[in-house]
Symmetry: C2
Subunit: 451 residues, 2 copies
């Protein structure tokens, strides 16, 4: 098989050096670490198709990988699979001005795509802290969410079409950029969020949104979760240009500030019960008055309004610094969940109490996206193999009407708990779809579906 793969992609793009392979077989948190047999680096759709035909015929399992920024082991080979890295598929097409769409290769990073969009006067609607490494293919495969889902939805809503290769090497999909196209089942929609288990995404046609000329950004300190919810209700109703509404529960922001060597620029919030909310409005017309009027109606302990671009960047640096600050304290358990927005504060309280009760020595850091109910539960001070607490947190999310994965996917980490949130009939339907599209089960084995 290796010889045939070398013929397809060139010998230098079939990697068998043990150290290099190992870097593709672990995630950045260090929690997932497996074993790959080879790393194959095709340069285009034709090579991906040819590689898959060879692997399919030989029955060799393969793990597609993008920027390897995942947090649930969805792109980490565990048992000697071939890693198919899509990073060389990094072509970016011109912005088509009539449709405001662009075609991007699976290996284009979020940062590259965003810069490209901006240079043409538009924005890609998705943004998140992993922007320098996360790739278009990986973001589609996991239906990446990020900080602007409250306004623009998730990656799913940005995908006009995909080109993908099925397990047997067939190329499917369309990049024609047709916003309206109802000719049969929408395979692109099925592939969004399928985590490399149904096909390998090679290119995508993406919509770009109007680039706001003006931003208004403020950090609010609120006494508790219910106050944060009230604040958000006011923002939702009165700020049509609402662009982001992030929440940091408890002392998460202080943790980031400490790590960055700065102060949290607002009194109040924090502590055991407090919440910091970072809110941003953005529009082609300055939304400052709109946001200020809404904030006047909010009973906050403190408000820090960004007065210029630098202050705005500092507020965002604090919010985005939390993950690094947590990582500096050891390998965290990171559980990405979502609950209906109205119960988010109740859930945050419940999960904090749960950890305190079950693992008295552990530290809980809770932050996420208030606008869409997505909370990142981070628990420090646990044994990396302590899965029982993970299960309890995920159960708690579903008990609040939520889901066990908001924007990271199921990967290998959560598949045993899929039945907490999907019924027997739903999992059966998923299995049937998997069998239909990948009958030899070579694509990302062990991900998504329970054993």
């Amino acid at each position: 098989v290796a010889a045939r793969l070398r013929e397809i992609v060139g010998p230098e793009h079939v990697v068998d050096d043990a150290d290099v392979i190992d870097s593709f077989a672990r995630d950045w948190t260090g929690r997932f670490h497996g074993r790959a047999s080879l790393v194959v680096r095709p340069k285009d759709t034709g090579e991906v198709a040819a590689v898959l035909r060879v692997l399919h015929d030989a029955g060799v399992p393969v793990v597609p990988q993008g920027g390897n920024t995942g947090l649930v082991g969805g792109g980490v080979p565990m048992e000697g699979e071939v890693v198919l890295t899509l990073r060389r598929l990094d072509q970016l097409g011109e912005l088509e001005p009539l449709t405001a769409q662009v075609t991007a290769g699976a290996g284009v990073t979020l940062a590259q795509l965003s810069a490209h969009a901006r240079a043409a006067g538009r924005d890609f609607a998705i943004d998140h802290g992993g922007r320098d490494a996360a790739t278009v293919g990986g973001m589609i495969a996991t239906n990446s969410g990020g900080i602007h889902a409250v306004r623009y939805g998730t990656t799913r809503a940005q995908v006009v079409g995909v080109e993908a290769v099925l397990a047997d090497g067939s190329v499917v999909g369309s990049l024609a950029g047709l916003v309206k196209d109802t000719a049969g089942y929408d395979l692109a929609s099925l592939l969004v969020g399928s985590e490399g288990t149904l096909a390998v995404i090679t290119r995508a046609r993406l919509r770009l949104v109007p680039r706001p000329a003006f931003h208004a950004t403020a950090l609010l300190a609120l006494r508790d979760g219910e106050a944060a919810l009230h604040a958000f209700a006011t923002l939702r109703a009165q700020v049509p240009s609402l662009h982001a509404a992030e929440a940091v529960f408890g002392d998460g922001l202080e943790l980031a500030a400490e790590r960055l060597g700065v102060e949290v620029p607002v009194g109040g919030g924090g502590g055991e019960r407090g919440v910091h909310v970072l809110v941003e409005a953005a529009s082609h017309i300055d939304p400052l008055d709109e946001l200020a009027a809404a904030l006047d109606e909010i009973d906050a302990d403190g408000v820090a309004f960004a007065q210029d671009a630098r202050q705005r960047e500092r507020l965002w640096a604090l919010r985005e610094g939390i993950s690094e600050a947590i990582a500096a304290h050891g390998i965290p358990h990171k559980l990405d969940v979502a609950v209906p927005v109205p119960v988010l504060p109740a859930f945050a309280g419940a999960v904090r109490a749960l950890v305190a009760r079950e693992r008295p020595g552990a530290r809980t850091v809770l932050f996420g996206h208030l606008g869409d109910g997505n909370l990142h539960v981070n628990v420090l001070g646990l044994d990396p193999a302590d899965d029982d607490l993970d299960g309890a947190v995920l159960w708690c999310a579903t008990d609040h009407g939520g889901t066990i994965s908001a924007e990271h996917g199921i990967g290998r980490a959560k598949r045993r708990w899929l039945s907490l949130v999907r019924s027997e009939a739903e999992i059966a339907a998923m299995r049937q779809i998997k069998r239909a599209l990948d009958p030899a089960a070579i694509l990302n084995p062990g991900a998504v579906l329970p054993e």
Copy 2:
């Protein structure tokens, strides 16, 4: 079977009166007319599930039907199937203000949903001329597009979740309203646009968009298609609040004006080569200046700016009057296609020439949605059974890089041409998915997939 269905839904909701049944077995254009054995009218999800279990066990085929506004025979029983009408599932939940979402039954009409949203200060993003009859279930099953897709995308982008019943009676889906939920394959996305062939949609969780407080609307007369494209490029670049951009090629608008007994309120446009463009901007801040500035840069033969709500309504009445005006001239062939926006004028010219060459006596009326490349090709004066011309028009669309169905679906009318736009591998994948979810093939047989 009828007896068991009567037990489930009550005897008055299993209709076997021939005249009533016949009204469910024809579409409003009169082009599709088939035969049903029974009409079953369940009132909720539980009854739908029970009905499907009975039909599944007995191997009886069933055609789900919403408002019966389809134009491709997708909801018309042809060979004595049971019609499952979802119209009694017309419950509408309260707007949830934190998420701006609402739960709607499959039988809620678009007009009811829109009025409900407006009463709560929001809008449903989809709108089209069939609003009084088209239902939520039907719009999801066909991924309805309409006039605001240029801004908000299609129905797909409005669906946060669905509840649906599989062929065997299993209920799947979620109405929890989680914008971010990546727990396994997204069955809801697969069901959007599946035209009742994979499951029966019973309820949906829908996002509502901010309701614009101000509208600015104008009718433009342009000398030809290229001029219309230039105008649209200016609008796209300079009007961030662009809400609709409709195009009527040739004398379509005159036809509607004649039928309504009014004048087209702008000189120029029309004729053999001219194009009328109806453009609307809408925002919470008055977009009048924004639109006026853009129109100043457009080289139009004439511009009629709506000065008040009544004038705005009149412009829209003209645009929406075209379908009625066409229907008054006989049973049209209606072909809903889309091509990439940059080639829309070239395609309009090509299809007009095609009809003139192949069917010299026929009349071609072309109108649609400039913003998304969706053109409605209407041909009058043809034998209703003249499918050859339909095939030629659809081929012409795909030859221009387009699709054979933009917002109406494939139904029964277009399935023979699906291979014009989907590859063998894609159709094979669709068949496998169909087999996986509906192994007994009882759901809407004869729709979507070719024989």
